[in-house]
């Protein structure tokens, strides 16, 4: 199964080229941000134009997550050279195309907005919108995408907290393997910066980043890191069977050669080195790979004091004896894009197969000794001897872990 197209919107880029360029040049997408009840804070905000692919009425009726999904889906198809026609999508019958979108949560934005609205009218529920249910159902982002593109195959979301971006990709791959679909649009999205609750909850937990300079707030592995920068965004991939991609002469970004999903079963919010280690080893085993076969390990690290430390412990256990493996982090640029994180972070590393570079983790002024791992790429890109495989990790609350391995397609 191969990735042949990438559609994305990130706080520092609305296409892969711009995004990659900013990841290599140290350009952050974190800005000052204000949201009701919370007030001034920081966030990663996307600047894509929803009206590129939606009518104004469609955008008004739908959700932010729907708009992100539609944008990413259309851009992924375009990038893959697959035309969206009324009867076929990229030459495939509309019912043979699937949409699989990972989400951390969905519906909080709309629910908060409606409560805010009826509060203006003394909680008279005759002012509660009839749009509430279609906007808040868990399949909304995928469903809006099927409506926009006229896709009649399976389209739904996978709830996986902040591991969800990888889940979308993994599920799309499985549906291709099962023969359920012939083309999958798969990845993850997030609109979380539009719900005050997520900021308030991280703040209550002592896990919301603070910094006078927004671009320096998300700083995984740095000694002075103090929490998460919440971001929005999305990345969807076109996934196809290798034979189909070769038959049409498609550009192949990479082949998905391994994956694993597991659960810590240990805590609601605290991560576990044991669970993460098992996840990484599971992904390697699924592809018949050894740690030294991985050239880039993209970490999940969110810039929280404890989370980064726990992850680094797991990395040392698995990759401590692997001098070939370089370790980086994308959240240092874009913050934590929640359900989009896994997919966006994988997308940001796929160009390494072409440019041969490993993008760094930025904002590390003083490396926390507890976060020392071999070949951590600090602040500037490096060019290793080879880049053949990327392992992308994403973890989430309630102890869900996910890992995906993508390999350069060698033809």
């Amino acid at each position: 199964m191969v990735i042949t197209g990438v559609g994305l919107t990130s706080p520092n880029g609305d296409d892969l080229q711009q995004y990659r360029s900013n990841l290599l040049n140290g350009v952050s997408g974190v800005v000052n941000y204000s949201i009701r009840h919370v007030g001034e804070t920081l966030a990663g905000v996307c600047n894509f134009d929803p009206l590129r692919h939606q009518k104004r009425k469609e955008a008004r009726r739908g959700t932010r997550a729907g708009a992100v999904s539609i944008y990413c889906a259309r851009e992924a198809l375009k990038d893959a050279g697959l035309a969206a026609e009324s009867t076929h999508i990229g030459g495939h019958a509309r019912d043979r195309v699937g949409v699989y979108i990972g989400i951390t949560e969905h519906g909080n934005v709309e629910t908060e907005t409606q409560i805010h609205e009826v509060a203006q009218y003394g909680f008279d529920l005759s002012f509660w919108s009839h749009h509430h249910n279609p906007r808040t159902v868990a399949n909304n982002p995928a469903g809006e995408t099927t409506l926009n593109l006229g896709i009649t195959g399976p389209g739904y979301c996978l709830g996986g907290a902040c591991a969800a971006g990888n889940l979308g990709l993994i599920h799309g791959l499985q549906m291709l393997q099962l023969g359920i679909v012939d083309l999958a649009l798969a990845g993850g999205v997030s609109e979380s910066i539009h719900t005050f609750g997520i900021f308030a909850s991280f703040r209550a937990q002592g896990a919301l980043a603070k910094h006078d300079e927004p671009a320096r707030a998300s700083r995984p592995f740095d000694k002075a890191r103090n929490g998460i920068v919440v971001s929005e965004g999305g990345a969807l991939f076109t996934l196809e069977r290798l034979d189909d991609a070769l038959a049409r002469g498609a550009k192949i970004y990479g082949e998905v050669v391994g994956y694993y999903v597991n659960s810590d079963a240990s805590d609601f919010v605290l991560p576990s080195s044991d669970g993460q280690e098992a996840c990484m080893r599971g992904a390697l085993a699924s592809g018949g790979l050894a740690p030294e076969d991985i050239d880039i390990l993209n970490t999940h690290a969110t810039s929280t004091p404890q989370g980064d430390e726990v992850e680094c412990e797991a990395i040392r256990r698995v990759f401590g004896a692997s001098p070939a493996t370089y370790v980086n982090n994308t959240k240092s640029f874009i913050g934590h894009a929640m359900g989009a994180a896994g997919a966006l972070e994988l997308a940001g590393n796929l160009p390494s197969f072409d440019d041969g570079l490993v993008h760094p983790t930025i904002n590390v002024e003083e490396l926390d000794p507890a976060c020392e791992v071999r070949n951590l790429v600090l602040n500037e890109p490096v060019r290793p001897a080879r880049v053949e495989r990327v392992l992308n990790m994403s973890f989430g609350m309630l102890g869900i872990n996910s890992a995906v391995v993508v390999e350069r397609y060698r033809g």
Partner: protein, 91 residues
């Protein structure tokens, strides 16, 4: 509110709900749904906006009264009497 203002009020609401539509040539006595793309959810939006902007409650059994602009004038005219015209749609 005059009859002309009732038409302006309703068209302003429709312009908010169906921003892609050209409302300049809407006929008074032809069903709105036969002239522009409006579905049942849009219609509920119109009822909601009347409630929010003017405090006018339209019970379900009266929805058909709003099928045309002329019907809107006849039905809403008395309810909007004395109310101030609200215009919010982007122009």
């Amino acid at each position: 509110m005059s009859n002309e203002e009732v038409v302006i009020a309703v068209k302003d609401i429709i312009a908010t709900i169906a921003p892609d539509e050209d409302l300049s040539g809407l006929a008074l006595d032809v069903r709105l749904r036969d002239q522009i793309e409006l579905d049942s959810m849009d219609f509920l939006d119109i009822v909601m906006e009347l409630r929010k902007r003017y405090g006018v409650q339209v019970p379900e059994e009266d929805y058909m009264q709003l099928a045309t602009l002329k019907g809107c004038v006849d039905y809403l005219g008395p309810k909007l009497a004395g109310k101030q015209l609200v215009q919010t749609a982007a122009r």
